[in-house]
């Protein structure tokens, strides 16, 4: 065990684009767990677009402030436990933050069974896989013959969401950034088509590729991509509002077309959700995803960045969309 705890703290809250200067590395003492607390070594740090939203103010989580350790979901191995539910050597997950060691009340941690590869616990069998599962299966409810649109199709959640819709017999169209990523979404993940949102006129491209309209929209990004999708919705469409990554760098409330009238005209439904609201059903989702991975029907990509010190640049790159699949930071073995 090292004798200090490296922490990436928020040096200053961003008011526009997030950059490396908004973080600072400090060395703190390794904390001693108090009553009911657990000390763990961080193994993996999950980078999620929502982390950026937490820097904008209070969301479903209290706001982050300058001087705090950057928040983030982590997988760790227990070193010392004052909670009888946990023992040294256990794998635990929780909001451990960007640091080498985290100390949290046992009730804020979940124990996870080890598996190979360990990274799956933080990706397809973790929050993002479950998010994809409940957003698509529970809200989107794709049916055979329907057309499903998934934005951020090469991302951690979108890549799984699209494949779940394929399993249901639907036609799945992705939207992603850049021709290379689009090609991978089709070739590696088995989407039927993938459109580059950076290309010219997404509205027109969607109209051509989805001539009967879009029945389910799994919305990871919001903004202009959503505008183009809304104008191509089929009647009785379902929109699973999962993320709004295009908005997270914004200082002022972003403006755009007032789209709710489209819901009226097409009798459609938009439902925002957080995976935590389905917590009691997580075992169901994990069991189904595990089965699909075992028999090869679900492809999963991870984009693992080595070294804790690289977390800020890896996160900033995630917000730019440079990842393919779930981006994790490997902190320790």
């Amino acid at each position: 065990m090292a004798d200090s705890n490296r922490q990436l703290q928020i040096a200053e809250l961003p008011t526009d684009k997030l950059s490396a200067e908004h973080f600072r590395m400090v060395e703190a003492p390794i904390p001693t767990p108090g009553e009911g607390e657990v000390l763990a070594r961080t193994l993996l740090l999950s980078l999620d677009p929502a982390n950026r939203a937490w820097m904008q103010g209070a969301t479903y989580r209290s706001a982050l402030n300058a001087g705090q350790v950057m928040a983030g979901f982590t997988l760790g191995r227990v070193i010392e436990s004052n909670d009888p539910e946990f023992a040294a050597g256990d794998l635990v997950e929780g909001d451990g933050g960007w640091q080498d060691y985290f100390c949290l009340a046992g009730k804020r941690l979940n124990k996870r069974a080890p598996r190979e590869p360990l990274t799956h616990l933080m990706s397809v069998l973790g929050v993002t896989g479950n998010t994809a599962y409940y957003g698509m299966a529970g809200i989107g409810k794709p049916k055979a013959g329907e057309t499903i649109l998934v934005s951020a199709a090469g991302g951690a959640t979108g890549s799984v969401a699209g494949q779940i819709a394929k399993r249901a017999g639907a036609r799945v169209v992705g939207v992603a950034g850049g021709p290379d990523k689009c090609a991978r979404v089709v070739a590696e993940l088995g989407f039927d088509e993938c459109l580059d949102y950076r290309g010219a006129n997404l509205f027109q491209a969607l109209k051509e590729v989805c001539p009967d309209g879009i029945d389910v929209y799994f919305d990871n990004v919001g903004g202009p991509v959503s505008d183009a999708v809304f104008d191509n919705l089929a009647d009785y469409a379902r929109i699973a509002v999962c993320g709004q990554i295009s908005q997270y760098n914004a200082l002022d409330p972003p403006q755009g077309p007032r789209n709710l009238g489209v819901l009226l005209r097409t009798h459609s439904k938009a439902e925002g959700f957080l995976v935590t609201q389905f917590e009691r059903q997580h075992e169901i989702g994990r069991a189904r995803l595990t089965g699909w991975i075992k028999d090869g029907r679900l492809k999963y990509r991870e984009d693992i960045v080595d070294g804790f010190e690289n977390a800020p640049s890896a996160f900033i790159g995630l917000l730019r969309g440079e990842n393919f699949g779930k981006r994790l930071v490997k902190v320790a073995e």
Copy 2:
């Protein structure tokens, strides 16, 4: 029977605010019903904000064009029928348009049983009553103790929607235009509160009147009223998107804050609907509303304008919000 059919035609489609010059009165021959058609005398003409949306382009109805008779829902008495389902003297409803006589295929008409007052067939027991019923009971699903927000609370649909929520034991707050209308919404319809959207800072007023957030939003208007409501939604809120009257006079797609992220943060659901999608259940809604009217638990206001020639100005006034309750044009006895 008169020997000519007065028609209000669309002289020119509006590109901005609707005004009287967009209509012209012409005299046409009374049509002769063809095979399967029914000729009826117009008794009542329903004025609905959606009529204005039809002038903006194709919606759930084909677009209206200059030179056509203005479209609108009418109640008529059959004069001559070539459809065995209908006989002279029957009451029928359908998209008869703004004219003294209408001639439509029998399959495009519904027969209605006479009742006193006849106007109820075109208001609380017609499309607007059913719209309120399914939007509130079917989508909003208010529960005792919840806070319900109804925009256009003094309008044909909002006035019923709010009272349905009261029946469910919820606290009901209206939004309407001007202090007089707000006072009537509380005094005559029994809403708990009513806020004037023309007053200063609706967001702040809603925050004070709905300190625990808004659980159900029955959205008749869209635009800035919706913005203020979205920023006051409670977790797991339900939004019934019924109308977007604030947008119907717009030429370019109206811009505003991108609100879908709020759905995500609050796990809320926005569902657009058209009453026609509940057609098979209309008898249920009507039966329930009829019962409430009988025992005095549902107050209903009608705002009846006499004289076919006054339809344009009555309609323009409706879009400005000058009506209280359902606005109808009485064309004949």
